[in-house]
Structures are given as C-alpha cells and as structure tokens.
Amino acid sequence: MLKTDTVPVIKLRWFTLSLSIILLAAGVLSIVLFGGFNLGVDFESGLSQRIQIAPTGLEVAYDGDLDTVLSISANALTVEQRGEGGVATKLLRFSEYPTSGDIATALGGIEGISVRVIDGSLKSGNLLSGYGFPATLGNEAIGLNFRTSGTTSIEEFRTALSDLGNVRVQTVGDSDSRTFQIRLGIKEGSNQASLEAEVADALGKTFGKDGFVILQSDYIGPKFSATLISSSILAISVALALILVYVWIRFRFAFAVSAIVALVHDVLMMLTFISLLRLEFSSTTIAALLTIIGYSLNNAIVIFDRIRENTGLNANMGLRANIDRSVRQSLSRTLMSSLTTLLAILPLAIFASGDIRLFAIKMSIGLVSGVYSSNLLAPSLLYWISKAQKNVQIEDKAK
C-alpha cells in the first residue's frame, strides 16, 4: 500500500477531468459512428432465437383419443395422458433407459404411440427440450433431438438463413455446442408465427426438418420495447432524485451535487464502453447500470463521510489537504471492497453465458470506473463546487 498519508487528488484534478472528457467524447463518437447501440431484443422489436443443431434420434407419433403430452426434464422423459377426466403418467428415467433405443421400446409400449428409430444408440441424457416442449403428440410425428458432438460453423449457419434477408447470427458457447443466437427484425405484415415459420423452414432445408432445437424464442412487439425504455429511464431518474435529496439532507448541497454528477459520469462511462466494445444493450444492462450507481454511490459516500469527519476535526488544515487525506484513509477499504466484489463477479463473467455473462462483464467495467470516479472525480468536483460557493464553511487556507 502507499506509504504516504495522502493521495494527491486535488493536484490531479485537471488530469482527472480531461481523462473523463476524452473517454466520454470517444463514447459519443463511437455511438455516432456505429449508428447507435447494439440493442438487445428487449429494446428492439423483432424475433430472437437461440438454436442448437442436434440430430433427431426418434420420431414419435400418437394415434388415439387421449390428450397425450410428452415432456423432457434433466433426468427423465414423461408421457402424460388425459382422458375425459383422468390422468395417467409414465415416467422414463434416463438412468433406467440409458439409450434412445431403450426409450423407443418403452414409448412404443404405450397404446397408440408409434416410434420411428433413426438412431438408437444416442444417450438419453443428451435429450434436448426446447421450444415446442412439452409437446402434444398427434398424427404428425414429433422429433426428439439429442445433443451430439460435431461442429457447425457460423458461416454454414448464416448461409442457411441467407434467404431471410437481414439476420444477425452469433455463436453461443464453444464451437462444438453448435448453438447460435439469431435476431430478425419485424418486416411489414409479418408476425411472430410467420417469422418463426420462416426461420424453421430455412433451417430445415439445410439441417433436416427436425435437425435442430430452438432452445429459446423471444418475440417482442414494437409497443413493448418503447414502454421498456421509457419505464427504465423513469426508474433511474426517480432513484437519482431521491438519492440527491438524501445526500443533501445528510451532508451538504455540494456533496449531493458532486455525488450525483459522479454517478451520471459512471452511467455514461459504462454506456461508452458498451458502445466501444459493441456489447449488447439489453434489460440486464439496466440492472448493471443500477448496480453501478448503487456501488459507486456507496464508495463516494464512504469517502465523503471521511471528508466531513476530517474537516470537522481539522478545520484549520483546509479542504484541499483534508480531501487528499480522506481519500488516502479510505483507500484500502475502497480497494478491498472493489476487489472482493470483482472476485464474486468474475466467475460469472468467465463461466456463465448469455445475458448473465454480459451483465458480469458490464459490472466489472463499472466497478473499475466506479473506483476511479469515487476516488478522483467526485472529490475534485466537491472541491470545485465548494470553492465556487463563496459561503463554504472551511476556507481553503492551505493554498
């Protein structure tokens, strides 16, 4: 740790300000250049699907009067049949039926169900349950897909969808998980069902009619995304206003304004990095933004609390020296807290996938920028505002 008992915050204040302005300017520039954010499905109407390429092992059909439903969970396959009023359930545990062949035999034993075996050697534990499950069985056969090793390149996948026009494709996870995320805008006169059908048709031509599983399917209508944006902005503004009032009451006006400006800075900084790194702007981004607001506010308050305490104790030292001293005194706490939070977040940023991983990455960026703003920017702002207010209680004598 530092051996000195001050951090030259005020000396560095012009440097701090310039760094923030340069970075934020870069952010604005990147937003202009890229033509806006890489908006997630929540914010941009359209269809978003996560699709895994997986071969069909069995095809199951049912011919009978009962309402027959097949569902797949992590360790079992269940067939539920409902008649005029009664329910009969058959549970096939994968531990008892380890291969697709075993499953086929057991399913075939249920009256009315016919099974066509395409590959009987697949492992039951690899059965995938996606969009369309639990499936209602009928005359038209339903394919059961199994996760298998093999690779499908993103180019191959993209080519399969090329007829649909402007489709965005991303890989999810390792290349051998063969999973892709696609995004499709709403076209004139299309709706959710027609978009889904178009995607299924296009993929069917390349990978076989049932050769893929739709793990997740999100459809967002145009009105929904507009409401989400306005409600998010409203929520953040109300939160900031209330925090301003609280800090104003507990501290002084200069503290409150500096804290809020530092928070707005953190929000803009995170948006800057989201734009620079082309990360997706989704509803979890809002959650990350809010967390960082809470977090860097926490940091700023701890430091401000120290500044207030020190100015009370050593009024003759002047604001400048007191700020430098307070930041130093809080430093090991600030670093330690940020480090532990970073440690808790990093496993998610590394191992998780999808939304939660994006959340963790954005959080990590926010944490670093929060440490910077609460230690350097917020105290500098406090210094400027206090100086500008002629009625500061403690005159800056040290200068």
Partner: protein, 575 residues
Amino acid sequence: MKKRNRLAIVLVVVALSAYFLFPTIKWYGFVPQEVKELATGSNVQIKEYARGQATRELRALKDLVAKNADAPLPSEYSFLKSAAKENYKAMRQPVPKKWTVRALFAGFYNEQNMFDAIESYHRTRLLELKALGNKALQLGLDLRGGMSILLEADVDSYVAKKGAPASASEISQAVRQDIEILEKRIDQFGVSEPMIRLQGSDQILIEIPGAADPERVNSFLRGKGSLLFKMVDSELSAQLEQYYLANPGEVYTETGALKQPEFLPAGKMAAGYYVSDEYGIDELARFVVIEEEIGLDGIHLESATTATDPITGRPVVNFKLDNLGGDIFYKLTSTNVGKTLAVVMDGKVKAMATINEGIRSSVQISGFTAEEAADLAIVLRTAALPIELTVSSQQAVGATLGEDAISVGLKAIALGFLLVVILMFAYYGLSGLVADLALLLNMFIMVSFLSAFNFTVTLTSIAGLILTLGMAVDTNVIIFERIKEERRMGKSDSAAIAAGFNKAFWTVMDANITTIIAALVLSQLGSSAVKGFANTLAIGIVSSVFTALFVSHLVFDAAVGDREGKKLSISWRKK
C-alpha cells in the same frame, strides 16, 4: 445492550429464517419428483387423482377382506385407522386393539364412507403439498423453462365490432372478463397452473411454467373447450343415481374418470352435473344420463348475458344464437317440450333447464341463484372472448436451457463465495473469518426471506445475490479498516473495536440507505427483470447491515471479552 440479549436477538432471527426456509428445503429436498408433478397440477387434477386412487385402493381392500379378513392391516392403509377410530367412537363401540382388515371395514358405515375417507386422505395430502410448494422459493421461467406471453387487447377490432367508440373503462372491463374466461380454461390446459395477471389497463400477462409449446398456448387462447347442448334422459338418470348409490366402488375408473355402467343403452351416456364450490373447483352434485347425440354445438352462440326476470324477479341467463343455430335449436326444443336440456362443457354438465316451448334465436334459461346464473353466462361466453387479444411479446425458454442456467449460476456463486472467503481470511486473519461467518449468515437470511416474501428467483436475482455478497463484505471491510486505524493510534483491542464500530456506523448506514433507495425505486418502477434484481438487493442490504453491525459486533465483543490480553487478529501483517 447486554451480550445475552443481543445473542437472543440473533438466535431469534436465525430461527425465523430457518422457519421460512423450511418449506423450500422440504419441497426441493424431500418431495419425490412424481409427487411434485401431481401436487403442482390444478385442483381439478388433484381431485381426479384422489378419486382414481380411492377407487383403486377400495378395490384392493375389498380383495383383501375377501381373501383373508383376519390378516393384519397392511401398513400402506394405516392412514385409514384414524377415520375408523372416530367412527368406532361415534358408534359407541370399543376401538379394536389389533387392526385387521375386518376391523377396519367394521369401522366404516358403508363403502361410500370408506371411499370418501380414502379420497379425502389423498386429496388433503396433495393439497397440503401444493401449499408447501407455493411457500417454497419459486424459480423464474428463465431458470425452470417456460413461456411468458404479454397479450394486448385489440381495441380497434372491438370498436369495429361494436360500431361505436369504446371508453377506457369499458375496455378494461372487457379485458377483465377475458382474464376470467382464460382462468376458467385453465382446467383444460395441462400440468402446471399458468399465472394470468392484468398488467396496466389493457394488457394480460400469462406465465406458464415448464411449457414452451406455442401450439398449446394458442389452443388455450383460442379455447379448444367444447360447449354443447344435449337432451337429458330423466328416467335413466334416476336409475343411474340408484345404481351408483348401491355401488360406490363402481362410480369411477382407475384414472378418476366417470365409469359408464353397462345397463345404459347405446346412444346414452352418464355424465356428472357439476356446480362450482366456494374454491372455484367444480363440485360433483349428481349424475345424469344424457344423449350422446349433440343437440346444438356452442359455436352457434353469439352472446350470453345475465339479467333479472321482470315478472318473477329471479336471475336468468339470456343468450343469442346465430341464424343456423336458431333453426337447429328451434327444431330441438319444439320436439322436446317438457324435457330437460343440459349445457355440457368438456364432458361435464354445467347447467340444466326444462324446455317450456320451442325457442328460436333468443334463449332465456332460468332456475338458478344469481351466482349460478353469472357462472353459466361465463361458461356460455367461454366460447369467445369479449375482446380479442394480440401477442405483444412472447418469451419461451426450453427446460434444457433453464437447467444449464441454474447449474452455471450456482457454480459461479459457489466459486465467487469461496474466493471472497479466502481473500478475507488471507487479508484480515481471524477477523476475516468473522466476516465470512457474517457472509454465510447473510446468504441464509437472504434466501429465507426471498422465499418468505414469495419472490421468484430469476437470472437477474442471482446477479443481485452475487452483488450483495460483495456489498456485505464491504460493510465488514469498512468496520475492520476503522478498527485497524484505531489500533494504530494506540488504543487497546476492546477500545479499538468499540470506536471502530461507532465511527463506522453512520458511514455504513449512509452507504446502505442510498443503495436501498435505488433498490426500492427499481422494485416499484422497473421492468420485471429489473424488479427481481432490486428485490434481492433490497433484502440483501437489510440483512448485510444486520449481520455486520449486529452479528459481527457481537462476535468481536465476545472474543475480546474472553481473551483479555491476547492479540486481536485483524491483519495479515505479523506485528
């Protein structure tokens, strides 16, 4: 406050948390998967299961008594003992010391009495489990798989159909009726009960756990339920009632469906006449025999309303038929004057009325209470929603993806937790372990309060949980750094601890109050994903302040009090 009182408060909080957490542990840890699936079914399904089970077990018991009446009662039927004991007492007979099959049978008035006892046992057990499941921590659709659909009222088509502009309250009223109808359709839907909720004034949010099948959802929205008008055979109905009364074990099949007795001629079928009980479950009132042939299909129905008969003042249901329907209905009613007509929905008789004359398009049925009339009007309307709905957004997650998300989330939490624990111990020594203890307690309190408030755990609430981990450590760090500073100034351990906690108090409060302001605003105004995060964060802040300011403080005081003269271990530096 004395240490003993503080310890008592901590113990009360821990006990309370354990109490809240108990249903979650029991539900996820000790209820077998098959039973869980049964218990998460709709009330109607539970009833059907209990009935089927009762039929099966009554038959098995009858087999037993026929084979060897003096055999000891098998343990799987011992749940019947308590009911039998009460009957013995009511009959003023001594309760048998040894329970044989014969003794059990003697403890019931008749077969019906025994059937009811078995059915009630199974039903009560599942309903209790269902209540337990509702109290346990619920997983969100993104973790367990499922589908959420936001539907929006199609105001334009409503106005076009009506031919006049509609007021906002009128739209909202129609949307409410839609919800009522959709709820009535739940019975036909499947395993888990979907959640249907009004959002704003003209939107309906439907969440269906487990199912990500758009086909089923569409059929649910369209209402595949059948509504039919059929003629009742009164003579055979009376005969059927007699038969069932004499043979209570022959009423249902093993799957809980109504058994068709053999004496019914072809073209006639037995059906149950159901009325809604106070829980909204259809309660079987009696049995009737109806024609298999359909008198009139409900698709010809145009509208149904309730009204009061101007002469008798009794509630009536009016409904209108289209032209073709009117012709069919006229033919049916004019040839069956004096007979009874049944309204059959999904195989259940929901209403019966006597035909007084031939009726064409505008029909009035009377003979119910106001509530029954309103129910019937809803049943009749279920064929069509008052206001059409369009899909505003639809999100579906397959079960596989949900399971992956849970396992990754849990692993990441565990790893993050472990890293934090190690770092705290490495940096703060034994005091770090106190912080780790507080952290552990914090997680425990958080999860238990999440389940007590019935919050749903989603991906974002896992993120909130992890963030709270960091924040809880922070509170301890603020305090520890203060204690270290005070010690550097030369204070004794106990004085440094007292000063450290004192000086850190308002820092911790200010830092956490500002964050909780943000959390509370978000939990009120945010979108649903943000809400999950905010709720977790709010609970986490309260519990982390409690664990740090109260529990850690107590541990420090206790440790220093007992180890006078020894060094406080709060730094990795050897001094």
